[in-house]
Symmetry: C2
Subunit: 422 residues, 2 copies
Amino acid sequence: MESEGKNNAKKEKIGTQPYKGVRDFYPEDQTLLNYILATERDVCRRFGYEEYHASILEPAELYRGKGADNEEIINEQTYTFMDRGGREVTLRPEMTPTVARMLAARRRDLGFPLRLFSTPNLFRYEATQRGRLREHWQLNVDLFGSDSLAADAEIISIAHALFMAFGASQSDFVIKLGSRSYLNALAAELGLSEENTRAMFALLDRKDKMPQEKFEADMEAIGVPLGKISADNPPEDVAAVLTLLSESGIDNAVFDPSIVRGFAYYTGVVFEVYDTHPENKRALCGGGRYDNLTKLFDDERVPAVGFGLGDVTVGHFLEVRGLIPPYLPSTRVYLAVPSEVHVATVQALAHELRQQGVTVAIDFGEKKLSDQIRQASKHKIPYLIVVGDTEAQTGTFVVRNLATGSDTTLKREQLAPFFTTL
Amino acid sequence: MESEGKNNAKKEKIGTQPYKGVRDFYPEDQTLLNYILATERDVCRRFGYEEYHASILEPAELYRGKGADNEEIINEQTYTFMDRGGREVTLRPEMTPTVARMLAARRRDLGFPLRLFSTPNLFRYEATQRGRLREHWQLNVDLFGSDSLAADAEIISIAHALFMAFGASQSDFVIKLGSRSYLNALAAELGLSEENTRAMFALLDRKDKMPQEKFEADMEAIGVPLGKISADNPPEDVAAVLTLLSESGIDNAVFDPSIVRGFAYYTGVVFEVYDTHPENKRALCGGGRYDNLTKLFDDERVPAVGFGLGDVTVGHFLEVRGLIPPYLPSTRVYLAVPSEVHVATVQALAHELRQQGVTVAIDFGEKKLSDQIRQASKHKIPYLIVVGDTEAQTGTFVVRNLATGSDTTLKREQLAPFFTTL
């Protein structure tokens, strides 16, 4: 950590910055994160999903052997270290292997279809220059035990419902569906080698980042004839899911053959949600069907479909759309006192209000009244009451709205209802 | 990780157990953790505390230099490793250094008194044989910027309110207060060396674990005369805090001279909460005043008082007292279908109910009806509705209570109110 020049005079002081690439959450930051996570939990629960969780510490072997795509991730992009007992530990870079592990451990006890969600923090050791963080919170939603395309439609509906719950309208985003099963069948039909199949996936993934002619030429070169992959002709599975989505009133879903998803484990319909805002044109989240992941643990196949959505991505989307709710602290009212002798009085009133569900902070009278009021404003607490001898004796209190400066005079018994019915 | 014998036949499979000493949270476990954390958040907010958070990754230097007590902890009891950029990183073993760091970073912008809480997961690399875990969740509550003993009383009141909110009565626990300032003054008065002052703290800490005669003899040996430390005569600061607590209706707080708290950083009143249950007679939580911690970052003193409470400890307390709420999933109702052709119908009803705030899981009809109902029961979902052609056409539905087997017949528009007013 960089030392801070001004403090080096006499003695080396400790730096106050967080570790590189991670964030401190002061109350305003935490309030936004809580809003994002609470909205996500609420939507998942409406769809009948139950919350699970696990430690960020996982055996490193959990991330190996999922295919060549992940070798680089495990070797160069994770926090992996040996613990003092000689165990290789990884700070989880994604949640899917964890939930697959938990599922395999209790397959007999869990009922299917099984609906699960979690909001884990995930860690990637990556270069931070592009604003990519080393830790973020990612909603993970998964449905296990169903081969029905209605399961795929449900997972995509949840992604849709999330953005609507954040205050977006359907024109703010578009859901693009692709089909891994179709591409795999196509590769088989064309007799593509594994290498060329991977090359086809990679080309589709970069389709929008290259000229159309180059895309077509490169596809022809690896043995995929022109017109074999066209946005006008959705594969059967994608078409069926689009119909189910449309029946749920979802009008912003389309087929896009370039959606393939990088991970090796997807097996069926895959999707990504894109922001339609010109300043934020990128994938907001994505997922799809992955029916083979639990085979890592034993030989039983469990069909699965799911997606992930990161808090940083949601934060950017809300910011661009002006959808971040204004900050309001949990604390509704600040009780100030003329002097320290009023502590017992103010403590008693605070106790009364708290019993009735009002969130109350009190001052201990160590500073003068004007300073106390300034502190309440600094914390953005909306209401202030000064509790002195007169107020305690008459049982009449003046409630000041610190934003507008307007006063409301209330009897003691009217205070709690005033705050709880706001 | 231990390999699992039965799966080794053909190919090495990955183990399904979590990393040693940490827990998986399946929905039932997560529901209990959520209950504990939500209760803690609610109590803290009633007292005017705002939530903050930080990454579990901290520069290792944050935990060094707090005094010899912590050398062992940082060297042998933390997860500390070098990252690929040559930075020494520690998975936080406690939250107080983090909040002190955050405070020092923005001292000018934060108003005082400042009330903060967090529910971080903390990591200790320790032997797991005694059921001690390597990761737990610990509520941390801190009040910064006040020298008033009313601040000490408030922090202790929050600990008290927490146990009451969990359903305990005052006879279930006792709050024991000690005074580090009194002991420091006593050491000075007696002219004790630093070594003997430490020895006095250590003896007091172990007082209840040794015969009274040995305690007295050992105290005399290091220069503390008999009767200098007595439970009958609380120091001034403890007495004042006890009076404030009593004025708040807290009757289960006492002075106990053996309460010293191990950490080097405490400076004033310290306290621990003890379970009075004969099977769980140990400290449930503890804390106190620590006015010098922010001096690690610069030369400005910020008075501080706070405490911590771990989720495992709370879990044990609730278990011993029979206070764990019965598990109920978030999902209120399961919609079963006679066959796969009813998917669009059931999807439409689910959509309607969700719009009105009901949490609904649906079946896709891949298994027969009796199996679907068995799955709903396995998930402990309380209500079931079978959605077939008759129900869709007549608009009349039978709601089955899966626990009692009783049925209620309702019109479509009566369904949502039935579930939301339960």
